[in-house]
């Protein structure tokens, strides 16, 4: 009894730190709907799976909104029996410091049905608030056929809607009181990740006027009932490890014998270049160059997908690296111009509708050199940078948590709200074997 009393007395004497109460400010958080692509779905490690969905930024944001009076948030979660979803990448081991990455097979496929965009997924036709569709672009969002092409979108549609209902319609029908829109990345990424050699028309760079028209239509529809929300810009490709991990001069020659062999193989200087001991530019295909090949320029970017070919199969040295594995200067310029144009549209739509704007482009630009948070270092670096998952494009759960907090700061500032940020330390980064 005495011990209990002493315990109560001491507990009641614990130090306390006063803090302002959570509040929604000017927002009605009854129904939050997240609009976007793979980033919104929680996609990471080149897949969509249950654990990733649970750490999607809309899920984290909704959890924090709830503390400020927000309502329930429903995601199209894969069930526990199909938790691996579409499958995902994991590190099996390191070889000479290079991660050997393998695929964990998916579990959520609908047997016997294949769409143009891949194997069909188990249906989830109940209403959901996370409308993140991996792969979707602004261009695709206005196409009624898209529901019959993209398995992630087809998954959410009633059978009668497949091939007849656009994503824009689906979004507007959801009638949120608060929304987030992070679309547009795939209007450049499809082009960029294919090394500027798109294999499908949907992977081309979207015309900026078309982009502007569709984006405006979407946001007009969302705000028609007075809803407020946050729009997000898209990051530059140079901010993402997929495009920055393999250096242009990844051809390391350690022995004179290797140098002599390559010089002999490439015309002993007759093509206008020669090799030296140490780091050399990779050799790439270029139809415009003499003999259709040349050293890559320091300003050009090698894709992460080329890593294994370079490390294990002689590409970039004895075999020139194919077009699909790098972005040349003119491709990069197109990407840069289109990214800037899309972002300009997004910023002006945010201004016109007086919506919050999370400038993800500026944010990723600001962290190129890395930063430290609670004694953990973060940088846009493959595997060890803690921000990006094993596909080199999509964040880790911790990366998504950090993005969520940036969105919350933007929302708080715009709407005079006090939504608490997420404890990012509760979310994982890359797992090591």
């Amino acid at each position: 009894m005495l011990a209990l009393f002493a315990g109560i007395l001491l507990t009641s004497c614990d130090p306390e730190i006063d803090a302002p109460n959570s509040s929604a400010g000017e927002l009605d958080l009854t129904k939050y709907v997240a609009v976007g692509n793979s980033l919104t779905a929680g996609y990471q490690d080149r897949g969509l799976y249950r654990e990733a969905q649970l750490a999607s930024y809309p899920a984290l944001l909704a959890m924090q909104l709830e503390q400020a009076g927000g309502g329930e948030f429903v995601q199209p979660l894969f069930g526990t029996a199909e938790a691996n979803g579409t499958g995902y990448l994991t590190i099996d081991r390191f070889e000479n410091g290079r991660p050997i990455i393998v695929t964990v097979p998916g579990q959520a496929f609908r047997q016997g049905t294949t769409l143009p965009g891949g194997a069909a997924l188990t249906k989830y036709t109940d209403p959901v608030q996370n409308l993140g569709i991996p792969g979707i672009s602004v261009l695709a969002s206005a196409s009624p056929q898209y529901g019959a092409i993209n398995p992630y979108f087809e998954r959410l549609l009633e059978p009668a809607e497949v091939g007849t209902k656009t994503y824009v319609q689906e979004v507007i029908e959801s009638q949120p009181t608060f929304f987030s829109v992070w679309l547009g990345n795939n209007d450049v990424l499809g082009y960029a990740t294919s090394g500027g050699e798109p294999t499908s028309p949907l992977d081309n760079l979207t015309d900026r006027n078309t982009f502007g028209f569709i984006y405006n239509t979407l946001v007009d529809g969302l705000t028609a009932g007075g809803a407020e929300g946050v729009l997000m810009t898209i990051a530059d490709v140079t901010a993402v490890p997929f495009f920055t991990t393999v250096p242009y001069n990844a051809l390391a020659l350690e022995r004179q014998e290797q140098v002599d062999q390559l010089n002999a193989a490439y015309g002993s200087g007759a093509l206008g270049f020669s090799f030296q001991l140490g780091a050399n530019p990779l050799i790439v295909r270029d139809p415009a160059a003499p003999a259709g090949l040349r050293p890559i320029k320091p300003t050009e970017l090698v894709l992460l997908t080329a890593l294994d070919s370079i490390a294990g199969r002689g590409y970039g040295s004895v075999k020139p690296l194919p077009d699909k594995f790098f972005l040349d200067e003119s491709e990069l310029q197109s990407i840069e111009e289109h990214t800037a144009a899309y972002n300009e549209i997004i910023r002006s739509v945010a201004t016109d509708h007086s919506l919050a704007l999370f400038d993800a482009n500026a944010f990723f630009d600001s962290i190129k050199g890395g930063f430290m948070l609670d004694q953990v270092t973060y940088a846009p670096v493959f595997v060890s940078g803690n921000l990006f998952s094993l596909d080199g494009i999509h964040p880790t759960p911790r990366g998504y948590a950090i993005l969520t907090n940036e969105m919350i700061r933007t929302i708080n500032a715009k709407y005079n709200a006090n939504i608490p940020t997420v404890d990012v330390s509760q979310y994982r980064a890359v797992l090591f074997p």
């Binding site: 390191f94 490390a311 004694q375 060890s384 006090n418």
Partner: protein, 410 residues
């Protein structure tokens, strides 16, 4: 590719902070704790070995004192706004103790031995809090062993000096921000024994029955750890970057303290004491660990501390109700040595107010008991910790410290 891919692994995971700030523990005598831990300008009995060896020569009887306190301390943490994350330390009970013995060689010359714990820290934030990559838990101990001689030059002046040999140890644990396939974070543990030497000298002047003054200097003691064990638990694939069997050396300064004390005895029953101390915290410039092997690419880690010297102001009083019973009270204000930007979770120090009360009871001519209670309230403090590898946020500490001591005379 290897260096590029792994260079950022875990970031500066060992360059971050360690040990404590403001890790002085001023709990050297149960009677004096009751009086706001004053004592340099008055006769405090056997504990003059600590407070002012110059006053020890005034003891008229041989004596032995044993005492101990229990520190019940809690620190609250709240992440920077608008973060909702909160944490509270779950610290083990700290138990500083003191043991003093004084023997009169003759009327003028006294010999004494003190064993006490003037520095230490024990902080446990646990494995879940958001700052665990800065610190999980820290335990720092220092036990001072001080043989002392004191000589009474005249009826009015006494001098004394003691040699200090300090032994102790440090144990520091933190999470390493690299996860294995099960999602478990790595862990680093640094554990080592430490020792150092110093001295404690004082002069005591008592011109009248109603007034006394003392000056005391306790020197800096550099605690050196040599060959401590650095143990790392990390995912298998990166374990070669954290070699097993690594040892470390480190050094931590326990700062000097210069104290001027005054004593007023307006009546035979009442004693009032005032102390001002200057603690030489500026000796603590950085914390450096040197490893016998490269840990994640570096064979040392260092973090700035840049403490500044700090003052402590104390006042205390004792009133003798009768020959048997004495009541005590006191207060002090302790300025933090930790500058803005240098706050770390080891001891998230701030300016502190201490309030104390105590009672003394003489059971017989030869045996008495002292009991004390001290409440410490540190100011709420918000800091980035960015200059010292800290964890940004707001910290608030309180401590409740009961203690008891026994005095024997012969």
């Amino acid at each position: 590719m290897k260096s590029k891919l792994l260079a950022l692994l875990g970031g500066t995971l060992l360059s971050a902070s360690a040990m404590a700030g403001g890790y002085q523990v001023n709990l050297a005598s149960q009677r004096q704790i009751g009086m706001g831990h004053t004592g340099t300008g008055i006769q405090t009995g056997t504990s003059s070995i600590f407070f002012n060896p110059g006053a020890m020569s005034y003891l008229r009887e041989n004596g032995v004192t044993v005492g101990a306190s229990g520190i019940i301390a809690k620190i609250a943490y709240r992440a920077p706004e608008p973060g909702g994350v909160e944490a509270m330390t779950d610290n083990p009970l700290g138990t500083p103790f003191q043991l003093y013995g004084v023997y009169g060689i003759n009327d003028k010359l006294k010999a004494g031995l003190g064993i006490y714990t003037p520095f230490g820290s024990s902080v446990n934030w646990g494995d879940e809090w958001s700052g665990r990559f800065g610190l999980n838990e820290l335990s720092l101990q220092a036990i001072f062993i001080q043989p002392t001689l004191s000589y009474q030059i005249t009826d009015q002046i006494g001098v004394g000096v003691g040699f200090v040999y300090a032994v102790g140890g440090v144990n520091l644990q933190r999470s390493i921000p690299v996860q294995n396939q099960q999602g478990a974070y790595g862990r680093a543990e640094l554990d080592g024994d430490a020792s150092g030497v110093g001295f404690n000298a004082g002069i005591f002047f008592k011109p009248s029955e109603k007034f006394s003054v003392g000056l005391n200097y306790r020197s800096k003691v550099d605690m050196k750890v040599e060959g401590g064990d650095a143990t790392f638990t990390v995912a298998e694939s990166i374990s070669s970057r954290f070699p097993a069997g690594t040892q470390f050396d480190a050094q931590l300064p326990l700062p000097s303290t210069l104290t001027l004390g005054l004593g007023f005895m307006p009546t035979e029953a009442l004693t009032i004491a005032v102390d001002v101390s200057r603690v030489g915290w500026s000796a603590y410039e950085s914390l450096r660990f040197d490893y016998t092997a490269a840990i994640n690419g570096a064979d040392f880690s260092e973090n700035a501390r840049n403490y500044e010297d700090a003052y402590i102001y104390r006042i205390g009083a004792e009133y003798k109700l009768s020959d048997a019973v004495a009541l005590r009270g006191g207060a002090y204000y302790d300025n933090t040595p930790v500058m803005e930007g240098y706050l770390t979770p080891e001891t998230p120090d701030a300016n502190a107010l201490g309030l104390s009360a105590g009672i003394g009871f003489a059971v017989s001519d030869n045996f008495s008991i002292d009991a004390s209670f001290l409440y410490i309230n540190k100011e709420e403090r918000t800091d980035t910790g960015a200059l010292a590898g800290g964890i940004a946020g707001t910290y608030k500490s309180v401590a409740y410290i009961p203690g008891i001591g026994l005095n024997f005379k012969f």
